[in-house]
């Protein structure tokens, strides 16, 4: 293994500003949270998350499938069922909260997978270069060109309607987004600090990757990640709406909407309520992500 022709002195210089940058961006992230434009929608979203995960236990709300035929289609404000029940007698509020759990889990899970896979693929593509890089980039292009929903549809359909499968199906599209970003970030460093081909000897190479490349790649990816959670949640809602995501009896905002569609004329609340829940969650999330992105921009 040939010695990496990068003297320690150079490496020390490389270490300096970039390590600081990582620390700075972490600090910057914390400071960003403190501003009202971030904190307010952020708090709303966290409230939604809290309600969905802790709500049922806290308020003693019945399970989403605990209804009986005796209490079908109760309207809003009925005793014991604040938001009424659906055609199977299940409590709507409960279904909303449990459905929210699913949406959030899918959103975060899919984003996490996309982030990881995209990061790995993008960074390695840039680092190793050559045919491998070209192949990966074309793969990303293809995934981006391919209508995401159709892709997700087909995958979800093949794998079958289960939570894990929905997450996988949605994560595919995000991989290329994160991958391209990771690639471009790695490119900037590669060009700047490594004039020599990156055939590093073991320890140095690993140190370079973890010590220098990662700190520069992660922050922008995290910024994108927040937006991605919203997109993933939207896709899950779409998939479930089409019947190819989460399936009954498990509620999801998407499938609640499609189920409620048949009662659009006499009981529009069955459609409107999950819609509102979805909109509130997504808007608060996007407002937060947008406010954070704006702060990054003005500081850059």
């Amino acid at each position: 293994m040939t010695q990496l022709a990068l003297p320690d002195a150079d490496l020390a210089w490389v270490e300096g500003p970039q390590d600081q940058r990582f620390r700075r961006s972490a600090r910057g992230a914390l400071r960003a949270v403190a501003t009202p434009s971030v904190a307010i929608p952020g708090a709303v979203f966290l409230l939604v998350v809290l309600a969905c995960f802790a709500g049922p236990a806290l308020f003693g709300i019945p399970g989403p499938n605990a209804g009986s035929i005796t209490s079908t289609m109760l309207p809003l404000g009925s005793p014991g069922h604040l938001l009424g029940t659906n055609e199977l007698g299940n409590d709507e509020l409960s279904r909303l909260l449990f459905g929210g759990r699913v949406s959030i889990i899918v959103g975060v899970g899919a984003t996490a997978i996309s982030l990881l896979a995209g990061c790995l693929l993008g960074m390695s593509a840039c680092y190793f270069g050559g045919f491998y890089e070209k192949f990966i980039m074309r793969l990303f292009d293809t995934l981006l060109a391919f209508p995401s929903l159709i892709l997700a549809l087909a995958i979800a359909d093949y794998l079958g309607p289960a939570l894990r499968n929905t997450i996988l199906a949605i994560s595919v599209f995000g991989v290329s987004q994160f991958g391209r970003l990771a690639w471009s970030q790695t490119l900037r460093i590669r060009d700047r600090d490594f004039v020599v081909a990156p055939r590093a000897d073991g320890a140095r190479g690993r140190r370079i990757i973890f010590g220098h490349i990662l700190p520069n790649v992660i922050p922008p990816l995290l910024g994108l990640a927040l937006f991605n959670v919203g997109t993933a949640m939207m896709m899950e809602a779409g998939l479930s709406y089409l019947g190819l995501g989460i399936a009954q009896p498990n509620p999801s905002w998407g499938n609640m909407i499609s189920d409620g569609q048949q009662y659009l004329y006499n009981a529009p609340r069955l459609v409107i309520m999950p819609c509102i829940a979805l909109v509130v969650a997504l808007v608060s999330l996007n407002l937060t992500a947008d406010a954070i992105a704006r702060r990054q921009e003005t500081r850059a």
């Binding site: 293809t142 209508p147 809602a237 089409l242 409107i272 979805l278 997504l282």
Partner: protein, 314 residues
């Protein structure tokens, strides 16, 4: 410039091939299930094998791909084993409604973009408002918008029909367009935020940095005139590129919106094909869609190159 085009074309073809391979593989995943769907209760190993041989499913994958691609290029998309209709003509018939929806959606977003940009530039205090509006629109899925509109305009106000599609040949263009208003809005709203962001930044750049704007005002031209005749045309290059590139994204959204409103377009075709395990139909549809998306992306990139003011100024 020519070299760049050739370079890009080659990349596009590679992506196209990848896309078709991907689509093909996806469908193959379904083809296995197709056998279940077709045979139903009569499913036995032998019957499955026989059907498989009959449909050509037992040949090696690459051969199947090439055969299919060869046929498709010649226009023969095969016959759907599920619906017994020829795939090609079915794809063609479904094209109309989808194209109309796409055009409608683009129109809606462009109009919205122009209005919001003009308003936020003329009355600066509305800038945050319009940005907030845009954010709201990008946070709401198109099917939610569609459904809420149906609830409001069809069920409550009885203004617009919930069933969107009425063929212009049989029901006339009036009814057709009336039906397509809501779906177009539903789909268009999801992309207008991006358009507005791009147009607004370019417009602001023109207003701040370009002296011809100051000069035009000094000439005594009215604000609106300067804006519409001078600033906007100079701000369109980025937007035009974006419009082309967004078409791919819209094609995705078409699938859902067509379901909400019952429009018999390509989206519904794809959806039904997936549901019914209709592999042949799906193959054809995916090919069509992949080609369309890639072509639009190429148009977008070409537009970007062409409309770049630095190039025009040469």
């Amino acid at each position: 410039m020519a070299r760049w085009i050739i370079d890009r074309l080659i990349q596009m073809i590679v992506v196209l091939i990848f896309a078709t391979v991907l689509g093909f593989l996806l469908v193959r995943l379904l083809k296995g299930n197709e056998l279940f769907a077709l045979l139903g209760d009569n499913y036995t190993k032998q019957a499955a094998d026989a059907l498989s041989a009959q449909l050509g499913l037992n040949k090696p994958l690459p051969i199947q791909y090439l055969t299919w691609l060869g046929d498709a290029v010649r226009g023969d998309f095969g016959t759907s084993a599920v619906t017994q209709q020829a795939v090609g003509p079915a794809l063609l018939a479904a094209l109309g409604p989808t194209v109309e929806l796409l055009i409608g959606a683009q129109l809606v977003s462009l109009v919205l973009t122009l209005i919001t940009t003009s308003v936020s530039v003329r009355w600066r205090w509305t800038e945050r408002l319009t940005t907030g509006l845009a954010l709201l629109c990008s946070s709401v899925p198109s099917f939610v918008v569609g459904l809420l509109m149906i609830v409001l305009f069809s069920t409550t106000l009885h203004l617009l029909p919930a069933i969107a599609w009425a063929s212009p040949k049989t029901a006339g263009w009036g009814t057709n367009i009336e039906g397509m208003i809501m779906p177009s809005i539903a789909l268009g709203i999801s992309v207008f935020p991006n358009y507005m962001r791009v147009l607004r930044s370019q417009v602001n750049e023109q207003l701040e940095n370009e002296e011809y704007v100051t000069l035009a005002r000094m000439k005594g031209l009215s604000g609106p005139r300067v804006f519409i005749r001078h600033v906007v045309p100079n701000s369109l290059s980025g937007l035009i590129t974006l419009v082309a590139l967004t078409t791919g994204f819209l094609i995705s959204g078409v699938v859902i919106v067509e379901q909400v409103f019952g429009i018999p377009g390509e989206g519904s075709l794809v959806y039904n094909a997936i549901q019914k395990r209709d592999a042949t139909m799906l193959e054809g549809a995916i090919l069509l869609i992949a080609v369309a998306v890639v072509v639009f992306n190429l148009i977008g990139e070409l537009a970007q190159m062409r409309l770049d003011p630095r190039i025009r100024a040469r």
